[in-house]
Every structure is written in structure tokens, then in C-alpha cells.
Point group: none
Chain length 190, copies 4
DNA sequence: CGTTAAGCGAGACGGTACGTCCTGTCTTAAC
DNA sequence: GTTAAGACAGGACGTACCGTCTCGCTTAACG
């Protein structure tokens, strides 16, 4: 019992997300419209709205696709080293074109609570989990203080990276990461 | 060699900035258009565009006006206490309607390098100066480590507040501030 | 090779033209803005600009719509009588609210060569054709001179009506038409 | 009781009128703003509004200045020849840049009854007087029919020239003038 | 010969309309 | 029946011009 007409082309979603990413890479955050994405992907606007409620929702999926291939960090045994490695990876991402997508989402989320929640749940929480795991491993291994407030410490370490991406008030490179780790270390070490 | 003709009407400027602030407080940052500001201030649209290049530029000035009356923090003698007081004030501002204006500016700055630079120079740098002063005083008084990297430490302490305002992933209250200070203190104290 | 997607909504076009005519009749030609037309027709401004390059272009179409229902003049057998009848009809139109639309178009066309050409082709030429036909019939019937320069004679007869509409220097009524016909008749009759 | 202060600088008016004429010559009718005239004349806007109520009023004065040096037509003794000469002069003016000024005024007058009246009184009536004089001379000399309706005949002869300037539907040259005169002559001659 | 008030340039002002752009929904024709 | 193309209502944007107003410079008549 076959059906007639073309079927949902699953390639379409991928094409849309790729176009979104390419356009944001090329034009920077906030400079991309739904119309542009649609025509760049060779897709009708309705096809986008069928699956996503807003441009930002598309961006968040494109971002997730970007991270899909992310491999977990190897653990070296040294908590300080593992933290530094993770932070360097975050800094590198924030400095790369992928940072533009994140900046776009943060910007859009300021006026869209639904998106904000989605962004927190699907992206922010996800990234924090990795950091928390490293911290907990360090505590378990006796290298970090047992009484650390994990959420607070994650903010101490990572918020500077976020802020430098968003405001650009200070550089965001490996030296910066190292300085943060060194500066914060006395507060972390057992 | 003065110039002839009428000059910038400072009264008017104030009216525009006040209207901008009032509207943003009432409607939220994304819901305010230049037309609304103009008609609320009883002003022609061109008068706004004569003096500011964009809505965001008006907002940044309105924000500055908001902080113009800011009084300097009293110093208690205790570096830890002074830092905590300042951070609590920042957290309070970030949680107030004024925070909406800041969030709007951060969002808009993601796509507007000129605005971003203006925001860094006129707002961010200004606020960081206060924190740096408190830290230097603490170092001079022997209560804080002499080898602190001031810029890094400011980020450690304040970036979490910024990020909680922008992402809303964690609360932003006095308890949070206290937890941050306590957690970071071992890294700061002499 | 057809095209896909929705097509020009002719219903909508009619609504826009009717609104244009109604507003010009009510307010006079110069007092009508595109925004007014759009909101009176319950239409987005872009919908107007999608199909017409300027307000004047809309007016010219509204004018054409006005004349679409025009019935051809009955021929009485008397060339002089037929000419007079036609001229009276023109004078009546020029004196009616429809005259406002024509005056607006003539005015606008002074600064817009494209509109001028459109007006000549679609309105002026069309009206002149009727006059020319009457004249040729008169010549064929032996009532008018065989060597008439049709274009010149049409100007002789109708230009006074146009000019009185545009300048208002002299009345534009049936008596005027009759006087013109009587005065010019010796130059026309066989 | 005299007054103090500088007096009205009559040079200014001339400069304004010349600038107006130059700009209309250069840009065509309908393309000139008061701001442009003011800055081209090196004059404040208020100086223009001090003496003229509208842009069109300035144009009408500039036009009059243009005609100030006009010399009366010599009379040849032949009514037909005199009429033809006058009409050729009118056609030449209408075809020259001066025609742009007239077109601007006709256009503006369609929406401004006060200007329309001023234009009729100060320009149209003035020009018609010359034609009427030639016709009356021809009647007096027995070359033209005694029962001519002067106003109607002036329209018959000159309205085609006006209309060709305003609509551009037919050429406006000496051959045209000759054709009009020849075609109309049987209606005029005694 | 200094005072004073008008003429003047420059241009800021409130306001209106413009024509462009984008969003999110709806419609049509092709495959 | 899904799709690409794109029309649609709505509304913000930034520009241009209008006619009024204000500022400070210059200048001529009065005292």
C-alpha cells in the first residue's frame, strides 16, 4: 500500500542547518534572516517554520549539530591539567566561528524566554556537565577541596570565558585560560 | 571660533533618555521602537537620529544617565567586606529593570562592533575601575595577595554575575554573591 | 514553463484601486499617502509597492478602472453633433472628482518621465483615439474637410478643455464646449 | 521715528531667484527643495520664508524675472503673421529650460489654490493679454472675423502648446505652430 | 563713537511620508 | 501530499523635506 507524492526529505533539515551555520559564519551573528537561510538552502520558508518556531531555534539546532561530533576529554589523572584542557577547548570554540552562533543565541535569548530556556537546557547545562564531572573527579581523587560548591566554581572558571566572548573586553586565548586557572587554583586545591 | 545657529538642546536629550528608560522599564528592551521613544518624548524621529546612530546608542546613554548619580562605595577597612558590598550592588542592579537595559545592549552589541566598543569603553571599563580600586586597596593594606592579576580576578568575581544575568542559568542574589566571595577568598587573601 | 507560488491577487488589486479612488475623491489628490491607501484597503504597504512603483502609478490604474466601464458614444449621423457630445462628456469628467485624479497625475508626471510616458500611453492616447475616430467618420461622410490634420484638430478641440481643468483660468461647462465647437467649426466643415 | 539695524538686502532676493532658476534648469521640475535653494544661494532658509510663503511662490517670481526683459512683438501688418510669430515665441519658451519652471508651477498649483490664483493672475493672464491684443488688432484691421470670441480663440491657438509642454504627447516645434495656425485659419479669417 | 536692534547664515526642532526590509502565515503549482 | 516559491498583513527602520524656531554674528541708524 504505497503512498504518492514525494516523502519528507530528511536531507532538508541538514541542508537548512548547514546553511544557517554557513551564513552565520560568513555574515556574523545578528545579520542573518530566515529569508536568507531559506533561499540559501533552496528551501521554502514554510519548510523552516514547519519544524522550528523561530530563527533562533534553527540556530540552536545548528549549534548542536556542530557539537555532535565532540569527543569526551581524556582524563590525565591531574585535575588541574584536565580543567585547563577543558577550558582551553571552550576558549578555542568561543574564539572560532562557532562562537558567532553562540553569541547570536545569547543575544536572541535576551528577548525570548522560551528560547532562553531551550538554550540553557540544551546547550549551557550540557557544557556545564563536563566541567562538573572533572571537578567531581578531582574531589574524589583528593586533589580538590572536598567542600567545593560545584556550580559556583564552574561559574568562577567558565564565566570569564563567556564574558570575554560576549563583551570582548579582554583577550580570550590560552594564556588567559592559564592565568585564570593559576589565579583560581589556591581556592580549588585540597 | 564658535559656531552659529542653534545648539544641541540638552534638555531635550535628557527627555529622550528618560523616555527611553521609562519605556524599556515598562515594556522590556526588545519591545521599544525609535518611533515610540520619539513620540513618548514628544520629539521628531530625526532629532534622535541627529544625535545617536541607533536605538542601542540611545540606550547606552540612558544607561549612563542611570548611573550618573551613583555614589562611590564607602570603604570599611575590610577588603573582603568591601568586595562583597560592591558585588552585592552589582547583583542588585543586574536584577533590577536596569538589568534589562544592560541585557539589551549586550544583545545588540553582538551584531554591532561600533556599539560593542562604545559599550566596553563607556560602561564596562567604567564599572571595572571600581572593582580594581577595591582590589588594589586590599593589596596595599596587606589583606590581599600582592601578586594578584587584577583583570583576571575581576573576571573571576564579576563574570559570574554578568553570566547569571544574561543566561539566567543560576540565581543572582545576595547568597550567590556571598558564596562566590567565600569560594574565591582562598585565592585572594594574602 | 509556468511559475510556482501564489499569484497576484486580482481581488486585492481592485480593493487597492477602489480605496485609492475613494480617498482621492474624499481628500483631494495631494492629501493621500500610500500608508493611508494601504490601511484603508486593509493591505500591507509592501503589497502596494510589489505591484506599483509609486503612488502615481496606483492612481493611473485607479483612473483606468474608472474608465473601464465607459460605453462608446452613439453616432448620430451628424459629425458636429457627435463631436460636441464627446467634448461635453470630457468636460463633465474633467469637472467631476475624476478630474482630481487626472490633475494629480499630470502634476506628478511633470517630475517623473516614466509616469509621464505611462500616462500618455495608457490614458491620453486612449482618449484621443475616440476623438480621432469621430473626426475620421466625419471626413468619410463628407461632412468634414478631407485634408484635416487629425492630431492638430484634436488638440484644437480638446486642449482647451484640458487647460481649463489644469489652470482654471476659464470656466469648463457645456456653454464653453459649444462655443469652442462653434468657433472652430468653419475650420472643420467640408 | 526711524528704525535701526540693517535693511533688507535686495541682492539677496536676486540671488535666491537666480539659484531657483539655475536649480530647476539643472534638475528639472519637481526635483528642487527649499533646502537646496537656500544652500545654493548661500542663504538661510528663514530668509526665503521671510518673503515668500512657499517654494512655488519663489518659482513664480523667478519665472517673472525671466520674462522681465521680454520685448513686445513688432507688428508686421499681417495678423496671421503676427499670431504665428507670437505662437512660435511661446513654443520656443515652452521648449526651453524656462518651460521647466512653468511645468513646476502648473504641477504645484494642482494642490494649492492660492498659488493657482497667483499663477493665473500674474503669469497666465499676462501672457493671454498679448495674444488678445494681436487678435483685436486683426479684427480692427478687417483681417479677422469681427465676431470672434477672443477667449475661446486664444484657447484654441495656445492650449495645444501648453498641453504639448505638459503632456509631451506630440512635438512642440515651429512646424507644429504653423500647422495649428493653418488648420485654424479658416475659423479666424474675415 | 558706542549702543542697540534688525537682517542674516546656519541649522535644530516637531512632524509627515517615504520606500525598504523582515517576520510568520497562507496560497498555488509542480513533482 | 510534500515541497519551492512567494504573496500577504503588519510594522520598524532610517532618510528627506517641510515650515517654524533659535542662536550668535554683522551692520546701520540713533543717540
Amino acid at each position: 500500500m504505497g503512498r504518492t507524492g514525494p516523502h519528507r526529505d530528511l536531507n532538508l533539515q541538514a541542508r537548512i542547518l548547514t546553511s544557517t551555520r554557513d551564513l552565520i559564519f560568513a555574515e556574523g551573528p545578528r545579520a542573518v534572516s530566515i529569508n536568507q537561510i531559506a533561499s540559501h538552502a533552496g528551501v521554502g520558508k514554510q519548510t523552516i517554520y514547519r519544524w522550528w518556531p523561530s530563527k533562533a531555534s534553527v540556530v540552536i539546532d545548528a549549534l548542536e549539530q556542530q557539537f555532535a561530533s565532540e569527543s569526551p576529554f581524556p582524563t590525565s589523572g591531574s585535575a588541574k591539567e584536565d580543567i585547563r584542557t577543558q577550558m582551553r577547548a571552550v576558549a578555542a570554540t568561543f574564539s572560532s566561528p562557532t562562537g558567532s552562533m553562540i553569541r547570536e543565541l545569547v543575544a536572541e535569548a535576551q528577548g525570548d524566554p522560551v528560547l532562553a530556556e531551550e538554550f540553557r537546557t540544551r546547550f549551557v547545562a550540557e557544557r556545564r556537565r563536563g566541567g562538573a564531572a572533572a571537578l567531581r573527579a578531582g574531589i574524589a581523587g583528593g586533589q580538590l577541596r572536598a567542600d567545593l560548591d560545584i556550580e559556583i566554581v564552574i561559574d568562577l572558571l567558565y564565566a570569564p570565558l563567556w564574558l570575554r566572548m560576549l563583551l570582548g573586553h579582554q583577550p580570550l586565548d590560552e594564556a588567559t585560560v592559564d592565568a585564570i586557572v593559576e589565579q583560581a587554583w589556591p581556592a580549588l586545591k585540597a
